[in-house]
């Protein structure tokens, strides 16, 4: 027999490779689960893209149907939007919270949402669902949730279940009453009225923002950051 010994593999201090593999799998599951749990803290229940909780964003601001802000605010922003429109979603998530915080809350501006359908048939039930929330003066919270969970245009994401799940997440909304209002004719009439206003105003695309105040009227179409919106407000104020 040869006395020459084969070089032996260095053993892990953690024991056999099987033990090490089991440890790696365990650690990986724990780390991935931890990341998943932490991601929930930034989820829709915890806050919007603006970093503010839905309740916090709109708390203390009067709402009447699709109008957000004091009725006597000198400047009105008419916001023509389609809930399937990605740019409307971007505006709602990134710019609107700052407008609400800095201009609407102070009573200087009110925003009137005019939901329209420019993208496709699924925009209609989405708009009606938001208008049904508006019957309980929860339009803006619901609209924000629709934009937070917006899917691809005409991808079929606007299902009854999807709309109901957003209703369930809307703070202070009576989901049963919302369901009844959704089936009623009032929301259909409101949507038709918004469509007619859009036609009259010559709205070609969404979002269209029409700023109206003592200084006149101006219009912006598309996504704009807060600075541009602020300048438009100052222009008509």
């Amino acid at each position: 027999m040869s006395s020459k010994r084969s070089p032996r593999r260095k053993r892990s201090p953690l024991g056999s490779p099987r033990t090490l593999l089991a440890l790696i799998v365990g650690v990986a599951i724990v780390v991935a689960a931890l990341l998943a749990v932490l991601s929930q803290f930034g989820g829709p229940q915890g806050g919007s893209a603006s970093g503010k909780d839905l309740g916090e964003l709109y708390s203390g601001i009067p709402q009447d149907g699709t109008t957000l802000g004091e009725g006597g605010a000198p400047v009105t922003i008419y916001l023509y939007e389609d809930f399937q429109c990605p740019v409307c979603g971007q505006f709602s998530r990134q710019t609107l919270p700052e407008v609400v915080d800095r201009d609407v809350r102070s009573g200087g501006v009110k925003v009137v949402s005019e939901p329209v359908n420019v993208i496709g048939p699924d925009s209609v039930p989405a708009a009606k669902a938001a208008l049904a929330a508006g019957e309980q003066d929860r339009y803006w919270q619901y609209a924000q949730l629709l934009f937070e969970h917006q899917g691809g245009e005409n991808s079929g994401y606007v299902t009854d279940e999807f709309l109901k799940s957003q209703a369930e997440k809307t703070p202070g909304l009576d989901v049963g009453e919302w369901g009844s209002d959704l089936k009623g004719s009032s929301v259909t009439r409101q949507l038709q009225a918004s469509q007619a206003k859009a036609q009259l105003a010559g709205v070609q695309g969404t979002p269209t923002l029409i700023f109206s105040g003592p200084g006149g009227q101006t219009e912006l179409v598309g996504f704009y950051d807060y600075d541009r919106i602020s300048r438009a407000i100052a222009q008509v104020d």
Partner: protein
């Protein structure tokens, strides 16, 4: 005998480089405040990036991807068991978390970001590569013991 794991190490290094490019782009998009370019213009990437799940405790998920892919790249450079097991750990965490993120895209956010799908695919491929590397390392060990 290091040659047996050379192939998986090269593959893992290449996958890590691709992953770094994807997560680097999405991290840049996040901090630049611009909309990511989405294939087909579906707007899904923008929706996912603008969703509240795009950050974890204020850190963009894409930046976590940068850390993960850097770890994967490091594992590809390290020879032997240390590199192989580090690669497996990173790829496994990455694959599990990517699966969770894909679930969020499909069932919670209701939008799919092609960049995220590409990253998830890279992670799954990296997991296969890391497993192959471990397997080859095991074969090498058994050959040495004989």
């Amino acid at each position: 005998m290091k040659g047996r794991e050379r192939g998986p190490r090269i593959v893992l290094g290449a996958l890590a480089a691709v992953g770094l490019l994807i997560s680097g782009y999405l991290t840049w998009v996040h901090y630049a405040g611009v909309a990511p370019e989405c294939v087909g213009g579906s707007g899904g990437c923008e929706t996912v990036q603008a969703s509240s799940y795009a950050t974890i405790l204020g850190v963009p998920v894409a930046a976590l991807g940068l850390v993960g892919y850097s770890g994967l790249l490091l594992s590809a450079f390290l020879r032997g068991g240390d590199g192989a097991y580090l690669g497996l750990l990173v790829a496994l965490v990455g694959t599990l978390f990517s699966a969770y993120l894909t679930y969020l895209e499909l069932f919670v956010i209701h939008a799919v970001c092609e960049w995220c799908v590409a990253s998830a695919t890279v992670m799954v491929a990296a997991l296969i590569g890391a497993a192959a590397r471990i397997w080859r390392l095991g074969e090498e060990g058994r050959a040495m013991e004989q």
